[in-house]
């Protein structure tokens, strides 16, 4: 399917489309949310379709207003202090300060 075909479909979201995006975004949505977002995202993208009429042939994508300053963004590779382990773990919903780890549900069996 060409991107143009997909774009035309995209202006009218189904609940299945919304559910697929929610999976990509790692968001558990309720049934009413699926309906709401199907309607609202469709409306927003329909408005954005107006942009497709702009002639952008040969126009580069934006690369920053401050490009003249981008050249010196590199720094010397010198180690500097960062957050301590305790500070990094202080906001963890579940952390193990002895092991120095964030704790998550079991991933491998």
């Amino acid at each position: 399917m060409s991107s143009d075909t997909k774009r035309a479909d995209g202006a009218r979201f189904s609940r299945q489309d919304v559910a697929r995006i929610a999976t990509l975004a790692r968001l558990a949505l309720t049934e009413p949310e699926l309906d709401l977002y199907a309607r609202q995202l469709g409306g927003i993208l329909e408005h954005a379709e107006q942009m497709q009429g702009v002639d952008t042939a040969g126009v580069p994508p934006y690369s920053g207003a401050t490009t003249e300053d981008a050249g010196d963004a590199l720094r010397e590779d010198v180690p500097v202090a960062s957050l301590s382990m305790d500070a990094a773990l202080q906001n963890a919903p579940q952390g193990d300060r002895v092991a120095g780890t964030f704790v998550v549900p079991k991933v491998i069996g």
Binding site: S3, R7, G10, R26, L29, Y62, A65, T66, A73, F102
Partner: protein
């Protein structure tokens, strides 16, 4: 409302020994006490840091008593910070339930610079969740109210900071502006708000929304105070590689007090539809006054600006969907437990984020997904280049571009929450400056017949905040005489 004291007058009175930093701190806390949680209950503040502020003020007074020459440019000045700017050892919610208990382990660079200059951080202000919104109605902790009419929104997303200054709780505040979030609430509350050039101010310690668009900037009662705060917070920071290695000029030194030799571009075709008649009338009156004072008004074209909203909402949401991936219940923030790792992610994010944040993450995820990237994200980035080129062309013939800040004055609570597209469209005049990376300052330009503030904004060349601050200062003098 009574005339607001300026930051500079407040600082100078402390420097002359007429009052102490502690006096100024206690006065700010008393005003907050009278107006914020009680009284009209404006809810400008998400969190008041009373003990911390008093301790800092006492330390300043102690140091000042020993050696008054060490007083910084903001010595003893209480300042409010939007709650998406982190202060070490204090909670930063960014208006989200996700960060209800998040205690920052470090200071934002702007916090370090403000405190080094002698400012006293008085508290954290109400904002739309993760800075996504135009009204503060998306705050998970309840909105802030417009001090001019508490039945109306203060604007957003930095609404609480605008309210703090407009209601006289502090003389200055910081907000962040991704698509108008400083300028629009400044306009709706009748004060001055500045979005600096992208890269002028470090974003280190600003909870990210749209990283190529976000800038921290000041709210103030006038251009001179805004210039002073910008001088303090601007400049390169090794912690933010997008902050520019450019010298920070003395902005106020460039003030002439006059618009006499200024060439001001007005994109009149952009104003032909969708602007409230009273806003348009106030804007035209301002142009007439500027002309009388010797400014040259030039009609300019910004042909791609009518696509700015579409480009903005695709780019900003794409960046937001990536930035907010970090809120996954693992390293910080809320966690909703149960089931597998992915079930934990999904439940945490599904419940931790509010409706508008989820809407924007969904939109951003979609425009970045396979098969749609070219049609939406790439196209929007190309249109962004065209918008930037339009401004470059305009600035070849004019010194500044002038347009309304918001097409409408402050609306009532609930009036627009059910229609996100209508809410987005009201950002029509503010998003272009963020897309082009250029600075812009909103200044008051009158009121509606019912007394609601109206704002207009001067936009400038990249790195040329001096010219727009000078224009804003000159405009204040013209408006004061009218």
């Amino acid at each position: 409302m009574a005339a607001r004291e300026t930051t500079i007058a407040l600082r100078d009175s402390i420097a002359r020994g007429e009052r102490t930093a502690t006096d100024a701190c206690n006065a700010a806390l008393a005003t907050i006490d009278a107006l914020d949680a009680s009284g009209p209950a404006l809810h400008a503040f998400q969190l008041v840091l009373a003990d911390r502020a008093r301790a800092k003020a006492a330390a300043l007074d102690h140091a000042f008593a020993k050696d008054a020459t060490l007083a910084g440019p903001l010595h003893g000045v209480p300042i409010a910070l939007k709650d998406n700017i982190v202060v070490s050892g204090t909670i930063a919610t960014a208006g989200s339930k996700m960060l209800e208990h998040f205690v920052s382990p470090y200071d934002a660079t702007v916090v370090e610079r403000l405190e080094a200059a002698g400012a006293v951080i008085i508290g954290k202000t109400t904002c739309d969740e993760f800075a996504m919104g135009s009204s503060t109605e998306n705050s998970a902790y309840g909105p802030s109210k417009n001090p001019v009419d508490p039945s109306r929104i203060p604007g957003g997303s930095s609404g609480g900071s605008a309210v703090a200054v407009a209601a006289g709780m502090t003389t200055v505040a910081l907000g962040s502006d991704t698509g108008g979030s400083i300028r629009q609430p400044a306009a709706m509350c009748g004060i001055t708000g500045l979005k600096p050039t992208y890269g002028r101010v470090s974003r280190y310690g600003l909870i990210a929304y749209g990283s190529s668009l976000d800038q921290i900037g000041p709210f103030a009662g006038n251009a001179r105070d805004a210039a002073l705060v910008l001088e303090v917070i601007a400049g390169h920071d090794p912690h933010d590689s997008t902050s520019a290695r450019r010298p920070v000029p003395s902005f106020a030194a460039a003030f002439t007090g006059s618009v006499a030799d200024m060439r001001i571009g007005v994109p009149s075709r952009l104003l032909e539809q969708g602007v409230d008649p009273e806003v348009l009338s106030a804007f035209r009156d301002a142009i007439a006054s500027l002309t009388t004072q010797g400014a040259t008004i030039v009609d300019i074209e910004l042909p791609h600006s009518r696509h700015a909203i579409s480009a903005y909402y695709l780019i900003a949401t794409a960046e937001a969907s990536a930035n907010l991936a970090r809120f996954d219940g693992v390293r910080f923030g809320a966690r909703v437990s149960g089931g597998s790792l992915t079930e934990m992610y999904d439940a945490t994010r599904g419940r931790g984020f509010g409706a508008e944040v989820k809407r924007r993450i969904m939109l951003g995820t979609y425009v970045l997904s396979a098969g749609y990237y070219d049609a939406y994200y790439l196209k929007a980035q190309q249109v962004r280049t065209l918008i930037q080129r339009d401004f470059t062309a305009a600035f070849a013939t004019v010194d500044t571009v002038l347009m309304p800040t918001s097409p409408v004055p402050a609306f009532r609570f609930g009036e627009r929450v059910d229609d996100p597209l209508q809410m987005y469209l009201a950002d029509v005049f503010t998003v272009s400056a963020n897309l082009a990376g250029i600075p812009a300052i909103s200044v008051p330009c009158g009121t509606t017949t019912t007394g609601l503030p109206i704002g207009m904004q001067f936009l400038g060349r990249a790195w040329d905040e001096a010219t727009i601050l000078c224009a804003a200062d000159a405009w204040e003098r013209i408006a004061a005489r009218a």
